[in-house]
Symmetry: C2
Subunit: 204 residues, 2 copies
């Protein structure tokens, strides 16, 4: 349980936790109306402060959005750790579990997921963001190598991990863009993730 960020209008001049609350307000709004429809002003109103207040915490709108993205990546990473915890080590099940978390995150928070990838090109300049991304990919690479029975990540593991990543990444986007419904494909997600995991991890 983390400290509740309360949407309550404050009674004191100072806010106490505006930064976190702005991120939360922005997260909600972005999820409601899409990243391009979000206005900093509206986030301010939701947090109960003046429209200029955010700029004491964030250089500009982009930095605020990147903070939301970062927080999303943290949650995604944590969810991955949680998911593989109870599963047997060095098993394919761990691989598909990681994929499932990835896709489910995208589906439950599509707008934040979009934010996490490439909306502003400044993403690449944000060290924290890049680092969290690498952490996640390292996790996958490690599991892929483990699945092969190795403790060190070789080039083949990197290639496989990247293929898996590409796949779930694309799958996530197609799903949140509604392409699945459009194409009228009935899809068993779990089966598909297992199938792909097997195919990519197979030796020849």
């Amino acid at each position: 349980m983390k400290k509740q960020t309360e949407p309550t209008p404050r009674e004191s001049y100072h806010h106490g936790d505006l930064r976190a609350q702005l991120i939360e307000a922005t997260r909600q709004l972005v999820e409601e109306k899409g990243p391009d429809q979000l206005s900093v002003s509206e986030a301010s109103r939701l947090a109960g402060v003046s429209t200029a207040a955010p700029y004491k915490h964030f250089k500009d709108k982009g930095e605020l959005l990147r903070a939301v993205a970062f927080e999303g990546m943290q949650r995604q990473y944590a969810a991955m750790i949680d998911a593989i915890g109870p599963l047997p080590e060095r098993s394919l099940a761990r691989i598909s579990a990681l994929g499932r978390v990835y896709v489910n995150f995208a589906r439950s928070e599509p707008a934040v997921f979009r934010l996490m990838f490439g909306l502003s090109k400044d993403h690449a300049d944000d060290d924290a963001l890049v680092q969290k991304g690498e952490d996640t990919f390292d996790l996958v690479k490690g599991e892929v190598a483990a699945c092969r029975g190795s403790d060190v990540v070789e080039e083949i593991d990197e290639r496989r991990a990247f293929q898996l990543w590409s796949f779930v990444h694309g799958l996530s986007f197609l799903m949140i863009d509604g392409k699945l419904e459009q194409m009228e494909l009935p899809l068993d997600l779990d089966a598909m993730l297992d199938d792909i995991g097997r195919r990519v991890m197979k030796d020849p």
Copy 2:
């Protein structure tokens, strides 16, 4: 050779081909500065008309952007047709060629590619856009079925086509987001596309 859309300031009051020229101007600007940085005003200036002129041709900014997306999808579809033309029918080579076109399009016009997928949720309401998307997917499904030696598309073909699509879609996004460079993965794109094609199309 199509008629050159000339950026020339016109001498007549009427423009003649403003709609097409606005799309082209927007395409350029979007590619230069990113979809979120684009302003209709700037596109107007580039096309040499007043800032209100676009609204005679497009209901709003979103419709203009969707027109750019549509035009991108047309070019992508055409490139696919061109690519498989000379290749032997019913061959895996055609499958990887389709993937190569997909990824190369994303790399050569990343912003338009982004526009083609999910920036505004109104995409799903745009019939022309949806239709073009289905055409492209039908093309892939047809090739997948042909590769299996069948003239009719079965469920397995749909599943395989969707897996391939997910893969190249994700790969495209990861590449244009610079994740490849970040991860310092040296990558032979052609080899990877062939590899994936083989793995997904394999029987068991």
